[in-house]
Symmetry: C2
Subunit: 256 residues, 2 copies
């Protein structure tokens, strides 16, 4: 059996503020651009590994600030989505992308079933198991839980500029996204943009939140707005009140 992670490399899931009292559980599955040593650089240059193809630029820092202000637990993936994209099932080619936007990923070309399985077992499943056990604990305690995943998108994709600052994405739960867009103080917020459920990007929420009947939303922020600390702090703060209001509002409604 192929083994990827070495003994001194960290577990794929980092749990921040696990005792946080917020009803929100934050998830950031594209937090990191780290590649396990055994996989080298997947054939990419250091410059390419800094690009949005490897991680969601600014998402981790923004999520950490949001976690602090909301007092919400945050679960982060410690390895790059180029190793395994934890927002995709292993059935999807895009879980192990051999190209992303306009970039080729040589280290993901012609992966064998064993190589795909090793990444699934060592990178994806332990991350998902951490989320699952965390949500199970809250479930048996009958705590209110809403799940928000924090992402960022590139302002220019395949040469075309995107015309929004933030997207609230949903598939099975429209209520939370609809509430957020109503109260969010910008003209450049959109629902299910720059992509949506048909693109398969709601996988993590369809897997962890929807089957439990938990309210959820995916939040996508344009990454040039959250490259630096000031922007990260500003965007975390923009989100706090709408999220807190939504939790109160939706707690009083029966789940549809």
């Amino acid at each position: 059996m192929i083994k990827i992670l070495q003994d001194d490399e960290p577990h794929p899931a980092e749990v921040v503020n696990s005792g946080g009292m917020s009803p929100y559980v934050l998830i950031c599955e594209h937090a990191s651009n780290r590649i396990p040593r055994n996989l080298g650089t997947l054939g990419l240059s250091d410059e390419d590994l800094q690009r949005h193809i490897a991680w969601d630029i600014g998402a981790e820092a923004t999520a950490r600030i949001l976690s602090k202000i909301l007092d919400a637990p945050l679960i982060l993936q410690r390895y790059s989505r180029l190793v395994y994209d934890c927002n995709r099932p292993p059935e999807a080619d895009s879980a192990f992308p051999d190209e992303s936007e306009i970039y080729q990923i040589p280290g993901n070309r012609n992966l064998t079933p064993s190589a795909r399985l090793a990444r699934t077992r060592e990178i994806a499943r332990p991350f998902h198991a951490t989320i699952e056990a965390f949500l199970d604990q809250r479930a048996v305690e009958r705590r209110q839980t809403l799940v928000a995943s924090i992402h960022s998108f590139t302002p220019v994709y395949k040469g075309k500029e995107r015309q929004l600052d933030v997207g609230f994405l949903f598939d099975r739960d429209a209520a939370l996204a609809n509430f957020l867009i109503k109260v969010f103080p910008t003209e450049k917020a959109r629902l299910n943009e720059p992509y949506g459920p048909k693109d398969g990007v709601l996988h993590l929420l369809n897997f962890h939140a929807a089957p439990r009947g938990l309210r959820h939303v995916m939040i996508e922020i344009r990454n040039d707005l959250i490259t630096e600390h000031a922007g990260q702090n500003a965007w975390a703060n923009y989100l706090v009140v709408p999220l807190a209001q939504a939790a109160i509002k939706l707690a009083s409604q029966a789940r549809s």
Copy 2:
């Protein structure tokens, strides 16, 4: 920490015909009425533990015959749904029902969070993990997979007779159920009866199949039709050709 299963009690998941060549993976989460020794009888009589509240009468035997004829893998839950209903998330009260139809379940009254967590960890999660690992293996091998869960329902519920022989239930994947009902040779087949997605009974498929993009269906057979071997054999045989045809038909279509 509460511990439920003793060392000589079996793992919650039994995998039958794991090397079966069918594109179908069969699941029977209500196969058994077994209660772990540590939980006694949950306060029920032997007679009550034989009723449909404890298990899906006839479902296991029918699923085993279907597994053999289709040459399909079959994953069975070895403990009663009264311990943990693996077709429910731990958020649902019905995962640990303290009443079912017209029967009280004394051993499930006022469960503590620790008791709920122990059942979740020892009964539900190992069962789901077996399904997950099995589907992951097929995914990395790029095999076609359709998931069918096999259930039975009681002909009389709360004093009212039900007017169907078989139900094909779906939530996110209408295609497989729609195909089956078209070709199934009986007037008494229905879609999303005697219950459906609003009743939360599509949980297992919404959790394991839908997020992977796998075609799926829940098959509910009236239990008095499959109490004895002859009926079990007949119903398994009724299902074989429609299921096999559906797999061929749907393999050639893009997933909606």
